[in-house]
C-alpha cells in the first residue's frame, strides 16, 4: 500500500536530522556537479554518497511518510481479521496485513540510511507532525471494503510504486522492488474476494457496489493533486525520485480499472467517465480536492482514531521493547560470567 504519490509537507521540520555542515563553496560546487552528472546519467545515489541537503530531506520525508502509510494501513484491514467470513479469508487477510507491516519495516530501514533514526520518525508520526496516506482516514464499514481496499487501493498503490523501483536513491528503489513483488497478491486477493461476493445474494452485491462508490474517488485522489498544482513534482522528477506525473499515473489507473469493473459487474460512480477515442483514454469527472485537503490536514472521518490506535499500540508495546533489551543484557552478562 502506498501514500499519496506526492509528498506533502509535514507539520514541522524533522528535528535532529543529522546534517553534515556544507563544505566550502568550491568544493560543494564540485560535489553538486558530480551529483547532477550521476542523476543525469540515470545513476544511483547510495547512503554514504554526497547529496544536496534538499534531496536528503525530500527523501526522508517521502520515505518516512510511505513507511507510516504502510503501518497505519494495517489498521483499517486489521479491524476485519476477527470478522473475516471464513478461515481461508482470515488467513489471507492476516498474511496481507503482515506484509504491510513488513513493507513499513523495509521503508523505515531505507529512511534510516539517510541519517534519521527510527525513534525520530515514530515520534513525528505519533505526535501528529508526519503525514501518511489519507486513504486510511476513511472507515472500513463492511467486509466488501476489505476487498475494495485490495483491488482499488492496492491497485493505485501498484501504479504509484512501480516507477519508484527506478528511483535514484538506491535503498528506496531496492525496498520498492521488494514491495512490488508482494503487492500483486494484495490486489488479486481483494478482487477475487469481490468476485465471490458478486456471485452471492442481491444484498452482497449491493455491499460491493456501496464500497466501490465510497472508495472510488478517494483512490483517484491518492495520486495527488493535478500536475498544475503540484510544484514539488518538478523537483522530484529532476532528482529521479518521481518518474511519472500524478495525472499520468491517475489516467493509467483509470484505464486499467474500468475493464476490471466491467468484469466484476459493478459501476464506477462517475457520470463523466467515458472512453475518449481521440485521446485513447477514459475521460473522468472532477475530483473534490477540498475534501482531500481537509482529510490530509487532519479533518477526515478517522484521522483521530487511527492516530490514537497507533499511539496506544506503541505505548502498550513499550514493556515488550524494554523486556527484550533487559533479556539481551542478562544473556550477555551470563555469557561473560561463563567465559570468565
Amino acid at each position: 500500500m502506498y501514500t499519496q504519490s506526492f509528498s506533502v509537507a509535514d507539520s514541522e521540520a524533522k528535528p535532529g536530522l543529522k546534517s553534515v555542515a556544507p563544505p566550502p563553496g568550491a568544493e560543494e560546487a564540485a560535489l553538486q556537479t558530480h551529483f547532477d552528472a550521476v542523476i543525469d546519467a540515470d545513476g544511483k545515489i547510495e547512503p554514504r554518497d554526497w547529496m544536496p541537503e534538499a534531496y536528503r530531506k525530500t527523501l526522508v520525508r517521502q520515505i518516512s511518510q510511505h513507511a507510516h502509510s504502510e503501518i497505519v494501513g494495517m489498521l483499517p484491514e486489521g479491524n476485519w481479521i476477527s470478522r473475516a467470513p471464513s478461515l481461508k479469508r482470515k488467513a489471507i487477510l492476516i498474511a496481507k496485513v503482515q506484509d504491510e507491516g513488513g513493507h513499513g519495516l523495509y521503508l523505515y530501514s531505507a529512511a534510516e540510511t539517510l541519517g534519521t533514526s527510527r525513534d525520530q520518525m515514530l515520534d513525528a508520526l505519533h505526535a501528529g507532525r508526519a503525514k501518511y496516506s489519507s486513504i486510511f482516514n476513511y472507515p472500513t464499514l463492511n467486509w466488501a471494503d476489505v476487498g475494495v481496499i485490495g483491488w482499488l487501493v492496492d491497485g493505485a498503490a501498484i501504479m504509484n510504486q512501480i516507477p519508484l523501483c527506478r528511483c535514484s536513491y538506491g535503498p528506496y528503489a531496492r525496498a520498492m522492488i521488494r514491495v512490488c513483488k508482494e503487492e500483486s497478491f494484495h490486489q488479486r486477493q481483494g478482487y477475487e474476494a469481490l468476485l465471490v461476493m458478486m456471485q452471492g445474494t442481491a444484498e452482497q452485491k449491493a455491499m460491493v457496489q456501496d464500497a466501490v462508490n465510497r472508495y472510488w474517488w478517494k483512490c483517484l485522489a491518492m495520486f495527488g493533486p493535478p500536475d498544475a498544482d503540484s510544484p514539488n513534482s518538478v523537483q522530484g522528477m529532476r532528482w529521479g525520485i518521481k518518474r511519472i506525473s500524478n495525472d499520468d499515473l491517475r489516467q493509467k489507473f483509470i484505464d486499467a480499472t474500468v475493464p476490471q469493473a466491467e468484469v466484476l459487474g459493478v459501476t464506477l460512480p462517475d457520470p463523466d467517465l467515458k472512453w475518449n477515442e481521440a485521446r485513447g483514454h477514459y475521460d473522468y469527472g472532477a475530483i473534490d480536492w477540498d475534501e482531500f485537503w481537509a482529510t490530509v490536514n487532519g479533518h477526515g472521518p478517522m484521522n483521530k482514531e487511527r492516530l490514537a490506535t497507533r499511539v496506544k499500540a506503541h505505548e502498550q508495546g513499550a514493556w515488550v521493547r524494554e523486556a527484550a533489551l533487559a533479556h539481551a543484557a542478562k544473556q550477555q552478562q551470563r555469557q561473560q560470567k561463563e567465559a570468565a
Binding site: 503482515q98 519495516l105 530501514s109 521488494r178 508482494e182 513499550a318 527484550a324 533489551l325 544473556q331 550477555q332
Partner: protein, 100 residues
C-alpha cells in the same frame, strides 16, 4: 531538541544477509532493529523471508561493518584502473589457436 524521545533505547540495528538457495552466496537484503542476535534472526525470518526467499540467514550488528569511504572512491580503487594486463582481452592470440 528531541524531547519527545522516551528514555528507552532503540533496539540495535542489524544488517541481514540471505542465502536464497543452496549453492548461492548470502546476499545483503536490508536491515532491522532487534534486541540481540537470536532475536534479529527471528525478525529477519519474518521480515525478509515470508515467501521462502531464503534457506539461510546471517545477521551482523551494523556497527561491526567497516566500509570504504565513498569520497575516496577514485583514489582507493585507482590502482586497478591502469592494470589492463589483468584482463584476458589484453592478450592477442592467433585465431588458429581457437578458443583459449
Amino acid at each position: 531538541m528531541n524531547n519527545a524521545t522516551p528514555a528507552l533505547k532503540e533496539w540495535p540495528l542489524w544488517e541481514v544477509f540471505v542465502r536464497s538457495k543452496q549453492g548461492l552466496e548470502h546476499k545483503h537484503c536490508g536491515s532491522l532493529h532487534a534486541s540481540d542476535a537470536r532475536h534479529a534472526l527471528q525478525m529477519a525470518r519474518d521480515v525478509y523471508t515470508r515467501r521462502q526467499e531464503g534457506v539461510s540467514i546471517w545477521v551482523v550488528p551494523s556497527t561491526a561493518i567497516t566500509a570504504s569511504e565513498p569520497d575516496s572512491k577514485d583514489s582507493f580503487f585507482d590502482p586497478a584502473a591502469d592494470k589492463v594486463y589483468r584482463h584476458p582481452t589484453f592478450y592477442e592470440i592467433p585465431d588458429k589457436v581457437g578458443h583459449m
